[in-house]
Amino acid sequence: MTDTLQFFIDQQAVPFQPGQTLMQAAQAAGLYIPHLCFHDGLTPHGSCRVCIVEINGSIRAACTTPATANLQVHSETSALRTQRRQLIELLFAEGNHLCPSCEVSGNCQLQALAYDLGMTHYEFVPLDPHRQNDGSHPDLFIEQDRCIFCELCTRSAQQQDHKNVFGIGGRGADTYLFAQADSSRLADTAITAQDHAAHICPVGCILPKQGSYQIPIGQRVYDEQPIHLRGNHRPDEQDATP
């Protein structure tokens, strides 16, 4: 029996299995590193950069960095918190987020991170996009301007549902989510409301057409606990892994 492998996050020892990323090991140990595009069970994507940590003076994404023994990882430093907050602010500025009337308010991971990181406003110039929403599917609605391009849906559809449903097109300010069909309409893809991909969006972009606003204020995912205690969850998630 070899010694347990471990590394350190902010001086706290974190055990890990070979092959695990920093994020996976931290999550297994019950330590929260802020994240948006990571989901246990899907290949890491490393795109949102919210999970940045500092190792030997360089900045790395915890969701794509393999754990190695005795690594000293810094996560909750004020500099990293500020950078994470600015990333969240950018996401708000790039989309169209009016939380008070949004149906995932209180259940939204972007909003929860914004609160947790102390975001009160943002100073980036809002892009104020007005893309056309896709309501073609009988059970699902796509609110384009809230997409943060985390590609959880793309990966979930491919890896869990074994379907090609979503894709991300364009670049920079013109990035957009599209449905993988000749018509570009969600109705013409194979997605169903029961698919994993229909239940993974961390924000209010892929919406069910039934059952919105059903959870009263006070009982929503982040009403009682902030995201660093509660973890990344949706009220309807199919697997309870944080």
Partner: protein, 482 residues
């Protein structure tokens, strides 16, 4: 004498200020008053393309003053879109309770905070005296009751919707959660006290009117038809019902007019100088057809109030003020009769076990159009939506009560200016009286949410051809500059 129409760019107004232009003719008579309103612009466009079920939430942002009314009326429209013609009894009762609580707290805020200083100390008294702090000093018991009545309403809203403002309760076809015995209990304890205080306030409104009877009844006096909802038997109805219209003499012009046919009943006129439209009754035409909505309209046009103490108050009001009553300042008294009704209706509902039921949602066959009408605190409120095959909003038409009262407010201000403008110089006194006139209608304008004597207001005096004669501005801190 030809009236030259000058387009005054409403954007040039001081931010958050109300702006009023008075036009005088060569003989020095005020021929027109124009209240410039920039609120509500762009919203109908903004919600195009949005999923329809979001509307009850998103419209709450339309107006910071009566978000609950917008929430409920949009929900009524969306009920139709999801094909629900009748809510479950528990859902309907919860919605009504919410609505009564909203009207009660709104009326209490307006009367005690925004109007009572004027009413108590007289309109001509110094501004320092006409504020809520002065009321608290001189009439502590009144001020405290006002605060408590309002809080009672707000707490009911919070219990039902999770928040005092911008809560979440009504969903397509119903409500999202019932009340619990623990939540209801404190309200049951307090409601009789609230009813008593509301009744005292009705009496106070009468006394205050009586103290200065001529001024009250003559101030800005204009006559107009009235419009509002009534129940099946002609009773006062704030949540449901059909439309009734009476003319200035009190004759019924329309009765039990179906809400979803409102486009036949009223049309809207656009004027070059205003962002806000001018609705009028089709049958009377654009010149004669403007009308008033709100507490005075509702008290004037209903046959009775279905709760006993408010009904008694209504009868006394009619004896005193005539039927229909036209003086704008009587809105205040009428408002408190309605507050009393709301308190009584809340007491009845609180005793109803249906509030605990979880039978809260119905469904039906999807429709492409929904029209919701409700009596908001300030008057009849219309929300009309159409959606496409992808559940996106394609058309929204909202007529808010302040829009319905648009012409009436202009005319009331004109009348006040005719009564009180002396020569070609604007005075702080006139500015105050214009404020009193605007406030009588309790408009949902941001300038009107400031305390008495603090309404940021710009008054312009112009010739009919647009030459400026004088100008007076009161700023948010209350100081006045020329």
């Amino acid at each position: 004498m030809s009236e030259t129409r000058v387009v005054i760019d409403p954007v040039s107004r001081v931010e958050g200020h109300g702006k009023v232009t008075l036009l005088v003719n060569d003989a020095g008579i005020v021929t027109q008053a124009r209240l410039h309103i920039v609120e509500f612009r762009g919203f109908e466009k903004f919600i195009q393309g949005r999923p329809y079920w979001e509307l009850p939430m998103v419209v709450q942002r339309l107006c910071g003053i009566c978000p609950v009314s917008h929430h409920l009326v949009a929900a009524k429209a969306i009920d139709q879109i999801v094909g629900v013609t009748a809510l479950s009894a528990p859902a309907l009762k919860l919605r009504r309770l919410m609505h009564f609580a909203q009207v009660l707290q709104s009326h209490a805020l307006h009367f005690f905070h925004l109007a009572s200083p004027d009413l108590l100390f007289g309109f001509q008294s110094p501004v320092e005296q006409r504020n809520i702090v002065a009321v608290i000093k001189q009439q502590p018991q009144i001020a405290i009751k006002g605060v408590k009545i309002r809080k009672f309403g707000q707490q009911i809203l919070e219990a039902i919707s999770g928040k005092r403002i911008h809560g979440m309760a009504a969903i397509p076809g119903g409500m999202n959660a019932p009340l619990t015995p623990e939540k209801i209990q404190p309200f049951k304890q307090d409601v009789q006290q609230i009813i008593d205080w509301c009744e005292e306030t009705v009496k106070l409104s009468r006394q205050l009117t009586d103290q200065n009877r001529d001024f009250h009844l003559q101030f800005g006096l204009i006559e107009s038809p009235f419009m509002g909802l009534v129940g099946k038997n002609g009773e006062l109805e704030l949540y449901d019902g059909n439309l009734r219209v009476i003319d200035a003499r009190g004759n019924i012009l329309q009765d039990q007019f179906p809400c979803d046919q409102y486009p036949q009943l009223i049309q809207e006129q656009v004027k070059s100088w205003s962002y806000m439209k001018f609705p009028f009754l089709t049958q009377l035409g654009s010149e004669q057809g403007w009308y008033r909505v709100g507490p005075l309209a509702r008290i004037n046009l209903c046959d009775f109030i279905p709760t006993p103490r408010a009904e008694q108050a209504r009868q006394q009001f009619r004896q005193y003020a005539g039927a229909p009553a036209h003086s704008p300042l009587l809105f205040h008294w009428a408002r408190m009769i309605e507050a009393l009704h709301c308190a009584e209706a809340i007491a009845d509902l609180l005793a109803d076990p249906d509030l605990l039921s979880t039978d809260l949602q119905r469904s039906g066959i999807k429709q492409k159009e929904g029209i919701g009408v409700i009596e908001a605190p300030r008057g009849t409120l219309f929300h009309h939506y159409q959606i496409d095959a992808e559940d996106r909003v394609t058309m929204a038409n909202l007529i808010v009560s302040t829009t319905s009262n648009n012409q009436a407010m202009n005319d009331t201000i004109r009348k006040v200016a005719q009564q009180h403008l002396d020569g070609q110089t604007l005075t702080p006194e006139l500015l105050n009286l214009v404020e009193v006139a605007i406030r009588a209608y309790d408009p949902c304008l941001s300038c009107a949410t400031h305390a008495v004597g603090k309404m940021p207001l710009q008054l312009l005096l112009q010739t009919e051809s647009g030459n400026s004669l004088d100008q007076l501005t009161r700023h948010t801190d209350g100081h006045i500059s020329r």
